[in-house]
């Protein structure tokens, strides 16, 4: 193990670690642009210079391997001067667009200038003009003038997505980043990450463009509900200035580093797929159908109606009721729902909805299963026996007259493989209750609709495809009158006179962990630390 001394402090690191990472271990941040821990070392920006005893010149810490007995100084006069000079060079042709640049506030040119630059401009030449505001992909816009040619983006398309769209062209101060000739736009499904890894404002996000300013945003740790990978994300929300971003409370989401799940990345489907949370079609109030006419209800009236419908149905026999939960619900909601409906005697509790077309999958992050919590539902032993689709089983039973009441949680059957059959069968049923977030064809025809909160409006856990239970936190309040799944189940339990259900996800998780052997016994949600990575369900050890 090499042991080296950085700024007088001793540290040992794995062989092959570079000096920049070794310093990070001591909490010393060496300023850098081109180095990114997930990409190959380029050593092109020269910002990470440090002084190493015994070497005549300053060395770039990103490309110098830590060696035993090395003595490194990261903050000597010589180093500071060199950093200043590098920064001055990088900014020679920089347009200083900060007022119109979306990166401002989280730009490493600004940050390092304030920390290490602070020189007076000596430039008397005209700045080189390059192409500005050039859309290079569905989600990304390029400003060549702001680029510092660190090549992170180029390496990303070469090493991570292996799509090779970007390159650096021309020489000297006329160098620019651009698409290779013959490529009209970025084709990869991970392009949003380019805006994250670009240390400056050269590559910015078109979805976020001019929506707000980064310093207006607050962050909540969350998990992407886009597929069963469960990428760790940061939800950037803005509630103090509600007129920004066209009224959307969530102007963007970004990946959160978790080496075990998603590394530094997330896919575009997940990154831009959250917009339903602020969409105009959110269900805002409970609603019932009166002779086909919609009537809005208050929550107490809605709970009473739901309880009446359910107890009427169970009087005819509990097996007349079918429940379709959703793999988009949290472990806590699924557990509470299972408890509530089984205490009513209902045994038909499914959750599998087969999509019309199988989902896209690749070997980087994207999984074919577009539900965040299928594994969790399986571990809770939900589902109607074998087969891919619980919808089919429920519809079979309904067609055979065995089921005449269904409760559907947040699944639009018109998007499932059984769309036609569902459309024919559902209207013939006695009672349909829909609990969900947004209006859709299934909700529109339900006798009673209850508005549910989305993932950013509540906390809970999802179990990803490998059985990793990951916690997410609430960012904003539920929209309109919508309530979290747990709160709805709690209200129903009270209205039905059943054992009370807690509205607190942490309490429900503690109970779940006690009762379901597949989850660690006694481990409460608070044990799931912020890297999102915690607690592996005890797979195969039931």
């Amino acid at each position: 193990m090499p042991t080296l001394k950085i700024d007088g402090k001793e540290v040992w690191v794995e062989p092959g670690t570079n000096v920049l990472e070794a310093a990070k271990k001591l909490g010393i941040e060496i300023p850098h642009y081109c180095y990114h821990p997930a990409l190959k070392v380029a050593g092109s920006c020269r910002m990470c210079l440090v002084e190493i005893e015994g070497m005549p010149k300053l060395q770039i810490s990103c490309h110098t391997k830590a060696a035993d007995g090395m003595v490194v100084w990261t903050n000597t006069e010589k180093v500071r001067k060199a950093r200043q000079a590098v920064l001055e060079f990088l900014l020679v042709d920089h347009p200083l667009d900060c007022p119109v640049c979306d990166q401002a506030g989280e730009c490493y040119l600004q940050i390092y200038y304030m920390e290490h630059g602070l020189y007076k401009s000596r430039l008397r030449e005209n700045k080189i003009k390059k192409e500005k505001a050039k859309p290079i992909g569905k989600h990304i816009i390029l400003d060549q003038e702001r680029c510092i040619l660190c090549s992170r983006c180029v390496r990303f398309t070469r090493e991570v997505t292996k799509t090779f769209e970007l390159g650096i062209f021309n020489r000297g101060n006329r160098s620019v980043v651009d698409l290779y000739p013959g490529i009209s736009e970025l084709q990869n499904r991970y392009q949003g990450n380019l805006a994250d890894i670009c240390p400056v404002g050269a590559l910015t996000d078109r979805n976020f463009r001019f929506q707000t300013r980064v310093w207006y945003l607050q962050q909540a740790k969350s998990i992407c509900p886009g597929c069963s990978r469960g990428c760790n994300i940061e939800v950037d929300y803005n509630i103090s200035r509600e007129y920004k971003a066209g009224g959307r409370r969530i102007p963007r989401i970004r990946p959160r580093h978790n080496p075990k799940v998603n590394g530094y990345w997330m896919c575009d489907d997940g990154r831009y797929g959250y917009k339903y949370v602020d969409a105009l079609d959110r269900i805002l109030l409970p609603r019932r159908l009166d002779e086909g006419e919609p009537v809005e209800l208050s929550w107490p009236a809605a709970y009473t109606m739901a309880a009446d419908l359910l107890s009427e149905a169970t009087k005819e026999g509990a097996d007349k009721v079918g429940v379709l939960l959703s793999a988009k619900m949290t472990n806590e909601e699924l557990f509470a729902a299972r408890k509530l409906f089984s205490s009513l005697g209902v045994s038909r509790i499914g959750f599998r909805v087969e999509p019309k077309e199988p989902g896209y999958e690749d070997d980087l992050l994207i999984k074919a299963d577009k539900n965040p919590n299928t594994k969790g539902a399986e571990l809770l032993e939900l589902g109607l026996g074998a087969g891919k689709s619980d919808v089919s089983a429920l519809l079979d039973a309904a067609e055979a007259g065995e089921v005449d009441t269904v409760v559907i949680f947040n699944e639009d059957l018109s998007k499932s493989s059984e769309a036609e059959r569902a459309e024919a069968v559902l209207p013939k049923l006695g009672r349909v209750i829909y609990v969900g977030t947004n209006w859709n064809a299934t909700a529109a025809k339900a006798d009673l609709v209850l508005p549910m909160a989305t993932f950013v409006e509540q906390e809970g856990t999802f179990t990803n495809f490998e059985g990793r239970v990951q916690r997410f936190w609430k960012a904003v309040e539920p929209l309109g009158e919508s309530r979290t799944g747990l709160s709805i189940l709690a209200g129903l339990a009270t209205a039905l006179g059943l054992e009370p259900v807690s509205e607190n996800a942490e309490e429900v998780f503690a109970e779940l962990a006690e009762q379901v052997p597949a989850f660690f016994r006694g481990s409460a949600t608070r044990n799931l630390v912020s890297t999102g990575n915690w607690l592996r369900a005890r797979l195969g050890r039931r």
Binding site: D97, C98, P99, Q211
Partner: protein, 200 residues
């Protein structure tokens, strides 16, 4: 809002009322006499007598204002009349009253890029601190219209929109009149067109 204050016990002298009334009248009379003597002496040419107090017959007679007085905001225009503001939201960020509301949009010229499509200032909340003017990197927002006499019947009426802000002209201050001369109603009586439109 009324601020509650602890009541002072009145002394016997104050409670019998009339002596205090006459004391008050005496103060008023003293100001009247002193100012009349000062005005008369200055009229007679005694220039080293201190100036007497002046009452302006507002609104017929308008008091001169200092050129640096912070008055109603305006947004500077480019040569083509479009806003010089690039919607950087610095003024909105710094505003201690949070009374600036900006929504940004795309500018067709990529060298300008960003332009406000909504820019509201709620004068009902504004405290006229001038921080917005200080913060602006484009010198786009200014408080030099010379307009300070505004009121509205509703709160909404106190909101200045982008169009209104762009339509405002700077006050054409000619000179700052001293109190010796007759007050010059110039800046507020009628505004003149700006000589050269501001350009970037």
């Amino acid at each position: 809002m009324r601020i509650p204050q602890s009541e002072k016990e009145l002394t016997f002298w104050e409670r019998i009322y009339f002596p205090e009334v006459f004391r008050g009248l005496a103060i008023t009379a003293k100001h009247f006499v002193v100012n009349m003597i000062r005005h008369t002496l200055r009229l007679l040419g005694f220039k080293n007598v201190p100036k007497g107090a002046v009452t302006y017959q507002y609104p017929e007679e308008i008091r001169p204002i200092s050129t640096r007085l912070r008055t109603m905001h305006r947004l500077a225009r480019r040569a083509d009349g479009s806003p010089r503001c690039v919607a950087c939201m610095m003024c909105e960020t710094v505003c201690p009253a949070s009374c600036i509301y900006i929504v940004a949009g795309e500018h067709p010229d990529p060298n300008i890029e960003k332009v406000p499509i909504r820019f509201d200032i709620d004068l009902g909340k504004c405290i006229f601190c001038g921080y917005c003017v200080e913060a602006c990197p484009e010198d786009a927002i200014r408080m030099d219209t010379g307009i300070y006499n505004f009121a509205a019947y509703t709160r909404e009426g106190m909101v200045l929109t982008l169009e209104e802000l762009l339509a405002h002209e700077p006050a054409p201050y000619v000179s700052v009149p001293t109190q010796d001369k007759a007050p010059d109603p110039g800046p507020l009586a009628k505004s003149q067109p700006v000589s050269a439109p501001a350009s970037a």
